[in-house]
């Protein structure tokens, strides 16, 4: 195993942690600390990606890190993506969402999620998984009981699974019972660990019937941190990093059922969104539906499906960050949450935010010219190849999501504005540049997707080789 040139993952995790400490202690400098912490993590992640690309097919260990972290083609992209998303959110978040507690907790979630991505150790992975959920269970992002229960269930299931796997590995005489690298195909923990891991994934990703907490979190919780949390996609990552390597044959046998469940979730959420009127819930349902498509792609066990899923993670993360951000900016401007009951005509006041919203939304549902088209194309080919009958649900769900999204866009931004509202500004420069970057990325990557697809294909091949 080759080494990274520097403990870059530790640095990517440590910088946000230091920034979080600064943010917690200094309310007036919280945003600045957040920007510096997230930017530092972004730079480290970018360097990791460069080094991983220079050594294709290899897993790079960190020097002086006791085998806790490694980087490879699977996690390097996630590290950079998540750092960038956090940086974008910290920059564009409205002032009221950048208090010391919120920014500090956001940075904590960033550090924990990056730790989970980089972990080469089950304890680190489990601790990071739990830590990333802590602000939503007992911390400043606490919402209603259902999100807390869902997240707690996923944490407990994972911790229990890790315990069983480690115990089993120790019994089998494995010298490194907590190492992820030594899991390859050993079936440590047997069916109990496999089942617990799946429970953790189902709860974390919000797969039917454990999906409703995501809606509740988006509706009652702080929307930007919730968006960031959901876009960690740690459920899918756990599947690729632990479940498939440890249980290659069992998972191959169970995947048709899981894939069907994921596709049903995609359709379920899509149908739910059709009659939903609350804007936050509609977006949450769309995220649920599209995230379920990711899981269906991963479980299709085809190169196209897995690559499509890995690309779609990028699309869903970036596009939904854009959507939730615009929604939050609108809520702050108009001092209310929105429902899709009436045509509000807000586009009259905020035409650029409207365009950002519609472009991100259409990317999410696969408009050609955006990266979403490419990922949807691969996902549809992958799922239809592995499940010809039920795979047809994917284009159906995507079509329904598109309708729900366009309906929400129409209700929010089109129509005649009610009364005259003075002093509403369109996107501020810092918001405009972040959102324009998102749009440019989505479109540029959509027009020239080969680089990203190749990058993700390497990761998909690494996963496929496990079977």
């Amino acid at each position: 195993m080759a080494d990274l040139s520097f403990p870059l993952i530790t640095a990517a995790v440590g910088l946000p942690l230091i920034a979080a400490a600064v943010a917690f202690s200094n309310d007036s400098r919280a945003r600045l600390a957040g920007i510096i912490g997230a930017a530092g993590a972004t730079l480290c992640s970018a360097k990791i990606l460069l080094e991983v690309n220079a050594a294709p097919g290899l897993r790079l260990a960190e020097p002086w890190a006791f085998g806790l972290f490694t980087a490879d083609s699977l996690n390097a992209t996630f590290l950079l993506l998540y750092s960038l998303l956090t940086l974008g959110i910290v920059i564009l978040a409205p002032r009221r969402d950048t208090s010391a507690r919120i920014t500090g907790a956001t940075l904590l979630v960033l550090a924990a999620t990056l730790s989970a991505y980089g972990a080469d150790n089950l304890i680190v992975l489990g601790a990071a998984w739990v830590l990333s959920a802590v602000p939503f269970i007992v911390g400043p992002f606490t919402g209603t009981w259902r999100p807390r229960a869902g997240l707690a269930a996923s944490c407990l299931a994972l911790v229990a699974a890790i315990g069983i796997i480690a115990q089993s590995a120790q019994t089998a005489g494995d010298l490194e019972p907590f190492s992820l690298s030594s899991l390859q195909g050993h079936n440590y923990g047997g069916s109990a660990a496999f089942a617990l891991l799946l429970i953790a994934i189902v709860f974390r990703k919000g797969i039917f019937p454990a999906h409703a907490w995501i809606e509740d979190a988006a509706e009652a919780g702080p929307v930007l941190p919730v968006c960031l949390f959901i876009n960690g996609h740690l459920g899918g990552f756990l599947l690729a990093r632990v479940v498939i390597p440890d249980f290659p044959l069992v998972s191959l046998g169970a995947f048709p059922i899981l894939s069907d469940l994921a596709l049903l979730t995609a359709l379920y959420a899509a149908i739910r969104a059709v009659a939903e009127t609350r804007a936050r819930r509609i977006l949450a349902l769309l995220v649920l539906s599209q995230s379920a498509c990711i899981l269906a792609g991963l479980e299709s066990a085809t190169q196209e499906g897995i690559t499509g899923a890995l690309v779609h993670i990028i699309v869903v993360s970036v596009a939904t960050t854009g959507l939730f951000s615009v929604l939050r900016l609108m809520e702050v401007r108009f001092g209310r949450t929105f429902t899709a009951d009436h045509y509000l005509g807000l586009g009259e006041y905020t035409p650029r935010l409207a365009v950002f919203f519609v472009v991100c939304g259409l990317a999410l549902v696969g408009l050609p010219g955006t990266l979403g088209f490419c990922s949807e194309d691969l996902l549809i080919h992958g799922t239809l190849s592995s499940h010809p009958q039920i795979g047809l649900l994917l284009p159906v769900a995507t079509a329904m999501n598109a309708v729900s999204l366009f309906r929400l866009f129409s209700k929010l931004f089109l129509g005649k504005p009610r009364g005259s509202i003075q002093g509403i500004t369109d996107a501020l420069p810092r918001e405009r540049w972040v959102l324009a970057s998102i749009v440019v990325f989505i479109v540029a990557a959509g027009l020239m997707p080969s680089q990203i697809v190749t990058l993700r294909t390497n990761a998909a091949q690494a996963i496929s080789r496990l079977w």
Binding site: H342, V403, R407, K416
Partner: protein, 445 residues
């Protein structure tokens, strides 16, 4: 590369102007119109040159391969453009008419608040249409297909402060997205059955059974895009957009894209009697539907739209019968005439008076219609059916929209049973368009 330049130029103009607008700069009207004129004049000349060089070289097609857009394992997305005897007339039609519409709209939409939005979307539409007509694979057709669809929807809601256009846009979007499932699935099936969706080297051969499945999926999309029965209900809603966009979309290019798709895949249709007969039946029903409904329409644009629909039904029948050149000529002539009629629609009364003045008085009635030979109860029934546009919207709403909304609300209740902190209800239905709405009792104002 000339073909690539023709297709890419509108896309580049769209990308440039929209990005600059997003960053805070609004292009002046004169710049937009001049750039539009220059681009489409050059594009028209380029398409003419392509046609001439194709004729002079004696080749049947010019193919431009840009490699693969992306490759995963054995799956490739080839970027290949094709200009042959079928696509060149459509390419020419597109660049000429978009150029004309651009020129016309400079005056028609002068000082309209959405002036730059219209032109930016017009370029995106032209790009999408040119991609459809020059695509060398079904995968690439989808790219243009979706772009034309979304542009169409955004232009229908051009007058965004009025409720009618916004509701109409949503209705059209619903039908488009539902029918797009057809072409997406057909493209996948082409990969599955023939291991490619490319038709640069001729359409891949399929067995009769495979051709039936692919043909029927393609027909679904073609029928949606060309407003064929039973999807015709969106057409009157689409008339809510500005007249120039109605002309180019529903008189000329977009509405004929479905027919082009069937012409392009005609060899697949000919392999399957079932698919061919389905095309003929749908075309015949649409022609009859368009004829009847068009005669009860109260406004000029909708009346023209149904007249276009009747002609398009005939085009579908021609395609289903295996004819090639007749439908192409029919489409070209029809698109030109209908565009002119749409553009003149706002001046119809003026034109009418001019004709009367030229004739030296009121023109006489054209005579009895054939329907006067029918018994009165039948005529009344037919009139009612035509007035309600063949009850298509009602059937769609009762058979699909209402059950879907009920299911959605049922699932929402299921989500809430004993588990949720969500105490609000979703009993109030969403404000879908008039034709799609459930038991909506609230005003949308």
């Amino acid at each position: 590369m000339l073909l690539l330049a023709v297709v890419g130029a509108p896309g580049a103009v769209f990308a440039l102007f929209s990005l600059l607008w997003l960053l805070g700069w609004t292009p002046p009207e004169r710049l937009l119109t001049r750039v539009t004129s220059v681009v489409y004049l050059l594009a028209t000349a380029a398409v003419g040159w392509l046609a001439w060089s194709l004729h002079a070289s004696g080749q049947t097609a010019i193919a431009v391969s840009l490699g693969d857009w992306f490759v995963v394992h054995e799956y490739t997305f080839p970027l290949a453009l094709l200009a042959d005897h079928l696509s060149l007339p459509f390419l020419a039609l597109t660049v000429i008419l978009v150029g004309l519409i651009g020129h016309f709209s400079a005056t028609y939409l002068h000082r309209d608040p959405g002036f730059e939005r219209f032109y930016i979307l017009l370029h995106l539409f032209a790009f999408g249409a040119l991609v459809i007509f020059s695509a060398g694979s079904f995968d690439l057709v989808i790219v243009g297909w979706e772009m034309v669809g979304i542009t169409s929807v955004l232009l229908i809601s051009f007058f965004k402060t009025r409720q009618g256009p916004v509701q109409g846009a949503l209705h059209v979007f619903v039908v488009y997205r539902a029918c797009d499932i057809g072409i997406i699935t057909a493209a996948y099936l082409m990969h599955h059955f023939a291991h490619t969706s490319s038709f640069v080297d001729g359409m891949p051969h399929l067995t009769s059974g495979d051709a039936t499945i692919v043909g029927l999926f393609l027909l679904l999309s073609a029928a949606g895009k060309s407003a064929q029965v039973p999807f015709s209900g969106w057409l009157p809603n689409a008339m809510e957009g500005p007249t120039p966009s109605s002309a180019i979309f529903y008189g000329a290019i977009s509405i004929h894209a479905g027919a082009y798709l069937l012409l392009r895949s005609q060899s697949i249709l000919l392999e399957s009697t079932t698919a061919s007969v389905a095309v003929i039946i749908i075309g015949t029903l649409t022609a009859i539907h368009g004829t009847f409904v068009g005669r009860t329409c109260a406004d000029a644009k909708t009346s023209l739209a149904y007249a276009a629909l009747a002609q398009l039904g005939v085009v579908f029948v021609e395609i289903g019968l295996g004819l090639t050149w007749l439908p192409v000529l029919h489409i070209l002539g029809h698109a030109m005439v209908r565009t002119l009629q749409f553009l003149r629609a706002p001046s119809m009364l003026h034109d009418y008076h001019q004709v009367h003045a030229a004739a030296g008085g009121h023109l006489g009635k054209t005579g009895q219609h054939y329907d006067s030979y029918l018994p009165e109860p039948v005529r009344i029934w037919l009139y009612r059916m035509a007035l309600d546009r063949g009850h298509l919207d009602t059937i769609l709403e009762n058979g699909f929209i209402q059950p879907l909304l009920q299911l959605s609300k049922g699932l929402a209740r299921l989500d809430r049973i004993g588990l949720s902190s969500d105490k609000t209800t979703v009993d109030k239905p969403p404000n879908l368009p008039v034709v799609l709405r459930a038991e909506e009792g609230v005003s949308n104002g």
